[in-house]
Symmetry: C2
Subunit: 204 residues, 2 copies
DNA sequence: ATCGAGTATGGTACTGAGTGCCATGTCGGG
DNA sequence: CCCGACATGGCACTCAGTACCATACTCGAT
């Protein structure tokens, strides 16, 4: 039918609106009194809805903060798919990170900074963050494996791809951390270049 | 005064014994019916003690499985301290991993395998595992920084050290995963060599 | 205009992890 | 033999997360 907005039905649109509302209300509370100290009851009270409904929009409290991370896996996979087939894996990953940085950090640096702050001040969120990154591996492996150097005899290509992806994500993580340490003043792109060259000397 | 065993008072010795007992009882239950499905009430019932006491020996349920991880950070730091000062950072880390592998995997491969299995079948444990590894960084940075190539002008050495450590740990993680996939048949040492060479071509 | 299906909502009751407190017991040293 | 430190068990509580049910609301079809 005549979908007025974005090709989505009204059901889906209101659903997203409610979720977005809930999200901003919750993040405001988190910023105000901290993640741990904020209960779900407080969030739903502030948003004017019931506890039951909350869990229909978010699987758990963590999901408020880390929910968007799942999508980044796909962003990375898509970005890698667009890189030339003969590009080496390290450069391809570095370029793929450009897309993520563009879509998240460049779009709203303040939000990225605040999120990073929460992450680093809360072990549970940090843990969840790292675990979500592990989920990206499976999506990225098919785009990395063909770029690897020929396997040495009886070596496991899959393990090598996993390691390379994990190493690159560790670089992204380290760069993010350093960037946040400068309060977003430094250039995240430059930091990322530096650390990825530190891990693989002579890269790019 | 006359410490009969290991230079520890009787208090500390009984304390460790109780903790060890609790640990084996819990791990048996986990192996039997799974981590999530086992409640703390069941553990303490099987061990014949109260719930209150349990939390005096373990900070949380996760601590049963991941408690030993904290010590590995120190093991790694000590191992790095013993490496020659002029050894490059990647080789030093690879050799430091030898110590960890020797102390944990070689000592009791079955236990390491079972633990790995639990880790990979439970997102919460995996997350906790990764978060604990992050805690190692601060201990390792001082041993890595001096081995890095001269910093390029305005680059942050600390970020580079963090990234290198993170990348190496990602290799260790990938190797462990691949090793567990072969049910411990493959040589973990060899896998680790392969993946660390994949991340840094021409290493060692 | 009405009906029925699908969906959103609120409420209630439950489990299980983790915290805080207190009263009691037990062991070791003087 | 007693005192103090530490260990224990029990209780009451908070909070996250699950399951289920009853009630609205909305949309499309007749």
């Amino acid at each position: 039918m005549a979908e007025t907005s974005g090709g989505l039905g009204i059901r889906e649109r209101t659903r997203r609106a409610v979720r977005a509302e809930l999200l901003t209300v919750a993040m405001d509370l988190f910023a105000d009194k901290g993640y741990d100290a904020t209960t779900i009851d407080e969030i739903v009270a502030a948003a004017g809805m019931s506890r039951s409904s909350f869990f229909r929009y978010f699987t758990c409290k963590e999901d408020i903060v880390l929910g968007h991370l799942q999508a980044i896996g796909q962003t990375l996979a898509d970005a890698l798919a667009r890189r030339p087939a003969d590009e080496d894996e390290w450069t391809a990953l570095r370029r793929a990170f450009d897309d993520v940085l563009l879509a998240y950090h460049a779009r709203d640096p303040q939000h990225a900074l605040a999120l990073r702050h929460m992450l680093e001040s809360n072990p549970v969120l940090l843990a969840g963050n790292l675990e979500k990154q592990c989920r990206w591996h499976d999506q990225l492996i098919p785009h990395i494996t063909p770029r690897l150097a020929p396997a040495p005899a009886d070596s496991d290509t899959d393990a090598r791809a996993t390691a390379v992806i994990g190493a690159a994500l560790a670089c992204l993580e380290a760069a993010n951390r350093a960037w946040r340490a400068t309060n977003g003043q430094a250039s995240l792109d430059k930091i990322l270049d530096d650390v990825m060259r530190a891990v693989r000397p002579g890269a790019f």
